[in-house]
């Protein structure tokens, strides 16, 4: 019997709290029928998004809230993350080009957005007057 349904989790805007959310996401993915590798990748994608929100939308101020709604459907999982911080541009996938034989060309930034877009099948972001909504979809 597959697991379907919805769960909402709220954390404070602290990187330590993102860890907790990551662990929870992993557990929910496993309960939804994902194998361990997929659960780990989905956890990573959501953690990267939450890190961006904590660091950039809330500028590392720890007293705000970030809500993640997880919807489990027969063929997909949807993670809807809402915050009331600064609107962020640039959720699209960057290029990650480098020469593996040239150490100076190795990336030291931008990998978070690359990971989110590589792991998730759809990434959508809307910045509103009082709330920003990031929607991440993973097909099962």
């Amino acid at each position: 019997m597959s697991t379907e349904g919805e769960i909402r989790l709220t954390i404070k805007s602290r990187l330590q709290s993102v860890r907790l959310m990551g662990t929870a996401i992993n557990g929910v993915c496993l309960a939804a029928g994902c194998d361990q590798e997929t659960a780990a990748m989905v956890e990573l994608g959501v953690v990267e998004a939450l890190n961006n929100i904590v660091k950039h939308a809330y500028q590392n101020q720890p007293e705000h809230q970030v809500e993640t709604k997880i919807e489990i459907e027969p063929n997909r999982m949807v993670f809807t993350i809402t915050d009331s911080g600064l609107g962020l541009a640039g959720w699209e996938k960057p290029s990650l080009e480098f020469d593996p034989n040239d150490l100076s060309s190795l990336p030291e930034g931008g990998m978070g957005r690359y990971i989110i877009n590589s792991v998730m099948d759809k990434v959508e972001y809307i910045s509103g007057k009082d709330v920003n909504t990031l929607s991440l979809t993973k097909m099962l």
């Binding site: 990187l15 860890r19 361990q36 780990a40 904590v54 593996p100 190795l106 030291e108 930034g109 590589s118």
Partner: protein
């Protein structure tokens, strides 16, 4: 952060004892690695056997260490890489960059040779 370091024939083996090398801890990890380099270490094995989760911040700290060492004439290799980190290396194409060994002894022997 919780990290151990031991020297074997001028090769420094560094092992983070944290399960997650993530945004919360990456600055401390990077700072520690910078200290080792500033102390003159230039052959380094990064043993990640205890690490179960790495995000882009952790990965950036590892890459930064590799660059600092390599561009300064030194070398860093990695061992104890679990499946999650292996997948992340492949996803970011960094699997073509890091020398990865199955165990610490192999990694140390490579840098000693």
């Amino acid at each position: 952060m919780n990290i151990t370091a031991k020297e074997i024939d001028r090769v420094l083996v560094v092992q983070p004892l944290e399960k997650r090398l993530d945004a919360a801890i990456a600055p401390a990890f990077k700072g520690q690695m910078v200290d080792y380099i500033n102390q003159g270490q230039n052959k380094l094995v990064l043993n990640l056997a205890e690490v179960e989760f790495v995000d882009s911040s952790g990965l950036t700290a590892i890459v930064s260490t590799l660059k600092s060492l390599g561009l300064g004439g030194g070398e860093m290799v990695v061992c104890g890489v679990g499946q999650n980190l292996t997948n992340l290396f492949k996803l970011t194409k960094l699997d073509k960059v890091f020398k990865v060994f199955d165990d610490e002894k192999e990694a140390v022997d490579f840098l000693r040779s």
